[in-house]
């Protein structure tokens, strides 16, 4: 199959799995937490790569997700000790990201990760890094890291959809109903970490942050139902992946950056023209 197809498929999978957790993050007003986690996993990725001596995906995902959870834990600890939540997020993620960047700069040769790939990822080369078992070629490796994580999030959220929903909209009612709110909070954070790590390797940090926030926010302006919001968000993510790829080919530019840019344009259009929440549509309906 052609490389175009693989790149778009990987981009779409990343966009869909980010949308899935991103919708819940948005509703819980934790979008910046997603941003923080996707930056803070970098030292985990570098340390795991250095320890394993190769880019073993499973080890990286487990180790780096641990860093994601450490981030969440640290931020909560600082908030409880009286630091503003904004500042707590800012200190933790910039600190961890800085450690990651220093490690990347010092051990670039050993790990084969460079600073450009931290930001942009390697989605353009992803089709050539193959995954094979016993000599049978099973497609790009990125597909085998992003795909399972997507299925895992889908399974978790599908199984506990009701619980997640109540926890996001009314945490107090959820705890009155006997739902373990804290458990679902950490489950969501763990899923966010898994998604961020799996996507990070192939597409870099910008695409993860962008896809965690922009498509869910766009969908939020289009519907009032959570299930529809998730579906619309995935659809927008897919459109951004396809549009972004062809824009990048046309401009000879970074693929991940273009994908986020297209999702930004879709957001701007929705912001202006959404039938229920668009600013211009609202003005027209007042005049009419």
């Amino acid at each position: 199959m052609s490389t175009d197809f693989w790149i778009i498929l990987i981009g779409t999978l990343v966009a869909c799995s980010c949308s899935l957790v991103g919708c819940f993050l948005l509703l819980r007003k934790m979008s910046m937490m997603g941003d923080a986690i996707s930056h803070a996993i970098l030292p985990g990725i570098v340390i795991a790569t250095l320890m394993m001596g190769s880019r073993n995906s499973l080890a990286i995902i487990i180790f780096a997700s641990l860093f994601g959870l450490i981030t969440v834990f640290l931020i909560q600890m600082f908030q409880q000790s009286g630091i503003q939540s904004d500042a707590a997020i800012g200190i933790v993620f910039t600190g961890l990201f800085a450690i990651g960047v220093i490690l990347v700069s010092l051990f670039a040769r050993q790990t084969g990760i460079d600073l450009d790939c931290v930001l942009f990822g390697e989605i353009a080369y992803a089709p050539w890094r193959r995954f094979s078992i016993a000599g049978i070629d099973l497609g790009p490796q990125a597909l085998w890291t992003v795909g399972p994580v997507f299925l895992l999030s889908l399974a978790c959220i599908g199984l506990f959809y009701k619980q997640f929903k109540i926890c996001s909209f009314d945490p107090i009612m959820a705890s009155l109903l006997g739902i373990p709110v804290l458990f679902f909070h950490y489950l969501l954070m763990a899923l966010t970490s898994f998604t961020a790590v799996a996507a990070f390797e192939s597409v870099g940090v910008i695409l993860v942050v962008g896809m965690l926030i922009v498509p869910p926010a766009t969908a939020y302006l289009l519907t009032e139902k959570l299930s529809k919001m998730i579906l619309i968000s995935m659809l927008i993510g897919t459109l951004s992946a396809i549009g972004g790829y062809y824009l990048a080919v046309f401009l000879n530019s970074s693929i991940s950056a273009c994908m986020v840019f297209i999702s930004g344009i879709l957001f701007a259009l929705t912001f202006l023209f959404s039938p229920t929440h668009g600013t211009i549509t609202k003005k027209w309906s007042i005049r009419g």
Binding site: I91, S253, H277, T279
Partner: protein, 310 residues
């Protein structure tokens, strides 16, 4: 060894630049922290990137004033868009921050890769703006940073009283007839300017840490604004200076992350050892209380026993 380093005239200039940057970002960070706008700085810093790239594409040169003007333009646009999206739709501020941040930054990276793929792209050195490279500054760059920083500090000193009132009691300041909205915009403008001047040393991605971390660390030591400002400024200066020295001496090590790491170390030190609020003091206090409590219980028990025997 360190003395020798400081005698290198070029490095001395660069050090001067980072010291002034640390000073002004430490001071302004206090105000943004107290106005609860810390993460806005992150969005502002990321959104300078398309401005820098656009300015380079238009002027074709790496003149710092041009790049800074471009950066100022896009970051002001981003600040406006964030507040516009938050006001006009049901999207909350943190999400609109994230949207503007990621979209502007991706636009910047798009332009950056286009520049790098073009013929003159390799000499542009624009990728140094991502993580900062203090050693790449020339003397005129340092002059610019020093002049802008002195200007910012001057403004802070002139409006100190008004800003203080705004930070601690918004409603009271409003009641006194202070132009609170204007002052709020002033804090935002100061923040945008300090971020823009800092991107060459610390880089667009981590610049926000130099606003947040020293100020938050300083908050541990005092309850007085002017003391907080002084402590935060000195933390900023220490991280800027040490970070620059280390990164100038290790090959391929960008300045930004080292500066941030030093700032985080100072933060952790404050977190542990600050008087009154530090964790160590709190733990000692708790132990002492428990000890006193136990003593009291023991005493009561003894008294009861004594009564019983009586």
């Amino acid at each position: 060894m360190w003395l020798q380093l400081i005698q290198d005239p070029n490095l001395r200039w660069i050090l001067l630049g980072s010291i002034f940057l640390g000073l002004s970002s430490g001071v302004i960070g206090c105000f943004t922290y107290l106005r609860k706008q810390s993460l806005l700085g992150d969005a502002v810093a990321h959104s300078t990137l398309p401005g820098v790239a656009l300015a380079f594409m238009i002027t074709g040169s790496r003149n710092l004033w041009g790049l800074l003007l471009g950066a100022l333009g896009t970051s002001l646009l981003a600040t406006f868009l964030i507040s516009y999206v938050t006001r006009k739709s049901r999207i909350k501020q943190d999400a609109s921050l994230g949207i503007i941040l990621s979209v502007f930054f991706s636009l910047g990276l798009m332009l950056l890769t286009i520049i790098q793929h073009s013929s003159r792209g390799n000499q542009s050195g624009l990728d140094k703006f991502l993580f900062g490279q203090a050693a790449s500054m020339v003397r005129s760059d340092v002059n610019t940073i020093v002049i802008v920083s002195i200007f910012l500090l001057f403004i802070c000193a002139v409006f100190f009283k008004e800003l203080k009132l705004l930070c601690f009691d918004f409603e009271f300041a409003k009641g006194l007839g202070l132009p609170v909205i204007l002052l709020d915009h002033l804090i935002m403008l100061l923040m945008v300017i300090v971020v823009v001047t800092g991107i060459q040393i610390v880089g667009v991605i981590l610049m926000v840490a130099l606003l947040i971390t020293p100020a938050t660390a300083a908050r541990y030591w005092t309850d007085k604004l002017h003391v907080m400002v002084i402590i935060s400024a000195s933390f900023g200066v220490i991280s800027g200076a040490i970070g620059t020295l280390i990164s100038a001496n290790v090959r391929n090590l960008p300045t930004g992350p080292v500066v941030v790491l030093i700032a985080v170390c100072l933060f952790v030190f404050s977190l542990l050892f600050a008087p009154k609020r530090g964790l160590v003091v709190k733990l000692l206090l708790r132990k002492k209380l428990r000890f006193l409590q136990q003593n009291q219980l023991l005493q009561q028990e003894l008294e009861m026993e004594a009564k019983h025997e009586y």
